[in-house]
């Protein structure tokens, strides 16, 4: 009877219920669509990062804090043994999708070919191209395409690499790489020159070691990369630039060099023992990250290795900032929607109580307890909230589907290339769906409690006298 009366009263005050229900439904829809949007952002952001740097990276202890200044000093001794240890571990093995070493390095890149005389510092990463390609195929959340562009490198092309778009521009490689939207610096303006005049000793070293500036068989522009080895001696290698890998962050784009691991190791370690600055683990599923990390730490502890483990969020502080920013916006929207729903339902239920005061007196006289009156109005608020929130959920599905069908594109944070903009569907985020629905029903119920209490406290005779 409680639900019957509640439902019929909602229908009886159609216009009022419609207005209040609309507020709840729009609130539910807005929260869900925005929730789906940020779910998608989070998934896209995570996917991009995991495709690029994997889930976990094992470093030599201290690398994360101090290693950026001198990566060569933080090479992992016998990294291949460590990789074997990780790869053969019965707990980790089923969780790992890609296990690959990387070598970070700092140095100076020079373009001395074709009369050029430009050089600049670079931030290099040595990778195994096939592993890199495998990593970019990671797609746990069903992205329409990889967020990381194809490196177009092969494991057997030992001197071939990519550079950032900014690096290409600064080193005057726009024409050679046939880049569009890549202006050539004005030759007459010294201040706007692409790079500082190069110390003659560097040029000489490069030329003496490699014969830089000479024509070479690949037809690709060639850079000379100079770095100090781990033992402190200068070393130079040549890199055939196969293309540009645009980076989403300008500082990185201006300094980025991607090269085969072997070349990076040759540059950093020369004829000495080849090490790696990181061992990257890409897992099959992100949800295994905690377990994998715990197991890695256990392995490191058990074998007394001087290593540390960092996850992709630690390596990319921007990730956490974006998550927190969107969480804060979502919380703000949720609070606003909650307040709107609260006031709408309080207003509606207060009017219902006023209009039905005589009815309250009548049923109290018939023997309904105060709690019965309270329950009647609370159920009415909850039911109104539930119906409207359900409508809101249906609307959210429709809006999300319409947006996905519109084929918008966008550039995810940290990316350089546009990708399809696809909202997660509400059904893909059960906690969001259930949380939004339950949250709004709860707010509607709580909002009804105030007028319901007032109704329950009405003296019977006063209620009966009410006109």
């Amino acid at each position: 009877m409680l639900f019957k009366i509640a439902f019929r009263n909602i229908l009886r005050n159609r216009r009022r219920s419609l207005m209040t229900g609309s507020a709840v439904a729009v609130g539910a829809m807005a929260m869900l669509v925005f929730g789906c949007y940020i779910s998608y952002i989070f998934a896209a952001f995570e996917t991009g990062l995991v495709q690029r740097i994997g889930h976990l990276t094992v470093f030599r202890s201290g690398y994360f804090v101090f290693g950026a200044g001198n990566p060569a000093a933080y090479g992992i001794d016998g990294y291949q043994g460590t990789m074997k240890l990780i790869g053969n571990d019965p707990v980790l093995r089923p969780l790992i999708r890609v296990l690959t070493p990387t070598q970070s390095l700092l140095g100076i890149a020079g373009n001395f070919s074709g009369g050029n005389n430009a050089a600049k510092t670079f931030l290099g990463v040595g990778v195994i191209p096939s592993d890199k390609e495998h990593m970019r195929q990671w797609n746990e959340y069903g992205a329409a395409q990889p967020y990381v562009p194809d490196t177009r490198l092969a494991d057997d092309a030992l001197q071939r690499g990519l550079i950032g778009g900014g690096m290409a521009r600064i080193l005057g490689l726009c024409q050679a790489l046939k880049l569009t939207d890549c202006p050539t610096p004005p030759a007459s303006q010294e201040a706007a020159a692409p790079a500082a005049p190069v110390d003659q000793s560097i040029t000489d070293l490069a030329r003496s070691e490699l014969g830089s500036g000479e024509a070479h068989a690949t037809g690709m522009p060639r850079l000379d990369l100079l770095a100090a080895t781990a033992s402190g001696a200068p070393n130079v290698v040549s890199l055939d630039v196969a293309g540009v890998a645009q980076q989403g962050v300008k500082e990185l784009d201006d300094n980025y060099v991607l090269m085969p691991l072997g070349l990076a190791q040759q540059l950093v370690y020369g004829r000495g023992e080849h090490k790696a600055t990181g061992i990257v683990l890409q897992l099959n599923r992100s949800e295994d990250l905690k377990a994998a990390r715990a197991r890695l730490n256990a392995l490191i502890g058990d074998h007394h290795l001087d290593l540390e483990v960092r996850d992709f969020a630690e390596l990319t502080p921007f990730y956490g900032q974006v998550i927190r920013l969107f969480d804060a916006i979502f919380l703000f929207i949720t609070l606003i929607m909650g307040v709107i729903v609260l006031f709408a339902v309080v207003n509606t239920m207060t009017m219902n109580v006023m209009e039905r005061t005589n009815e309250i007196g009548t049923i109290r006289a018939m023997g309904v307890r105060r709690n019965g009156i309270r329950a009647q109005f609370v159920v009415e608020g909850a039911l109104l909230g539930a119906i409207a929130a359900t409508v809101g959920v249906v609307l959210a599905f429709g809006v999300a589907a319409a947006i996905n069908r519109a084929r918008f594109t966008w550039v995810p944070p940290g990316n350089a290339n546009a990708v399809p903009f696809l909202l997660s569907m509400p059904a893909d985020s059960p906690p969001l769906l259930l949380g939004t629905w339950l949250g709004l029903v709860l707010v509607a119920t709580l909002a009804a409690l105030l007028p319901a209490n007032r109704a329950a406290r009405l003296p019977v005779v006063d209620a009966l006298r009410h006109v």
Partner: protein
């Protein structure tokens, strides 16, 4: 009509005052009375005399400022709010001047409602509801909402709602006031018939001479004071054989 049982309602020096700002208004002034069971009893008096207040006190929907009220042998002043609600649900039926049906419920559902409050099982509830609707002549209108019924039909539903649980007492506040004389007469006849069938005590607050003419026990009040009490057939305004105009004396009882 003989009366051997204890009175169904007993008021003992009952006072009811209201506060209106700084002024205290006495609605009921030291009334003591007994109403015997199975009667058609009337509380009459001019507007503002305290009829409805007295009815509310007897119906346990208002509490006296002083004095003691016993209904069906229960000292209702000692009951908690919940216990009073349960007591009303079991023992008292109400018929209001403005019908006061729940507008979103059909006639059938309005009549069934009191049975839900006493926790009756569904088959018995259905049987009783249909029988009561049949008794008030609304078997065919069970599915209709109050706004689809005439005034007379609404009051029949209200009577059915009051009687369906077979209460000890039915309190009716001006039950014919909103009806034309033909409908009023029909409603009175119906209540008479139901009272005869169910042996329920009816207590009315009314000015309706047509209704008063059916009284078996009449209490006349003015300005909150019980002026007189008369038995069936005695003209209003003259104290009957067992009547008293003294409020400090118990009135009523067996007639």
């Amino acid at each position: 009509m003989s009366e051997a049982a204890a009175p169904v309602v007993r008021l003992d020096h009952v006072v009811k005052t209201y506060r209106s700002g700084a002024i205290e208004v006495a609605a009921i002034r030291d009334i003591s009375l007994d109403i015997p069971a199975h009667r058609f009893a009337m509380i009459i008096g001019p507007s503002g005399s305290g009829k409805t207040t007295l009815l509310n006190l007897i119906g346990c929907i208002d509490a006296p400022s002083a004095g003691r009220i016993e209904v069906c042998g229960e000292a209702v002043g000692l009951l908690s709010d919940n216990a009073l609600a349960d007591f009303r649900a079991r023992n008292i039926g109400f018929i209001f001047q403005g019908f006061s049906l729940v507008p979103v419920l059909s006639a059938y559902e309005n009549v069934e409602y009191p049975l839900l409050l006493v926790g009756m099982n569904a088959p018995e509830r259905r049987r009783r509801t249909l029988a009561t609707l049949e008794a008030v002549g609304l078997a065919a209108q069970g599915g209709q909402r109050p706004n689809e019924l005439s005034g007379g039909q609404k009051q029949r539903v209200a009577i059915a709602r009051a009687l369906v649980k077979q209460p000890t007492i039915v309190l009716a506040d001006e039950p014919t006031a909103n009806l034309d004389s033909a409908n009023g007469a029909a409603i009175i006849a119906l209540m008479r018939q139901m009272q005869a069938e169910q042996r329920t005590t009816f207590i009315f607050s009314t000015h309706d001479p047509q209704l008063i003419s059916h009284s078996e026990k009449t209490f006349v009040i003015r300005d909150g004071t019980l002026l007189e009490h008369r038995a069936e057939g005695a003209p209003v305004g003259t104290a009957g054989a067992d009547a008293t105009s003294r409020s400090d004396q118990r009135v009523g009882g067996a007639a």
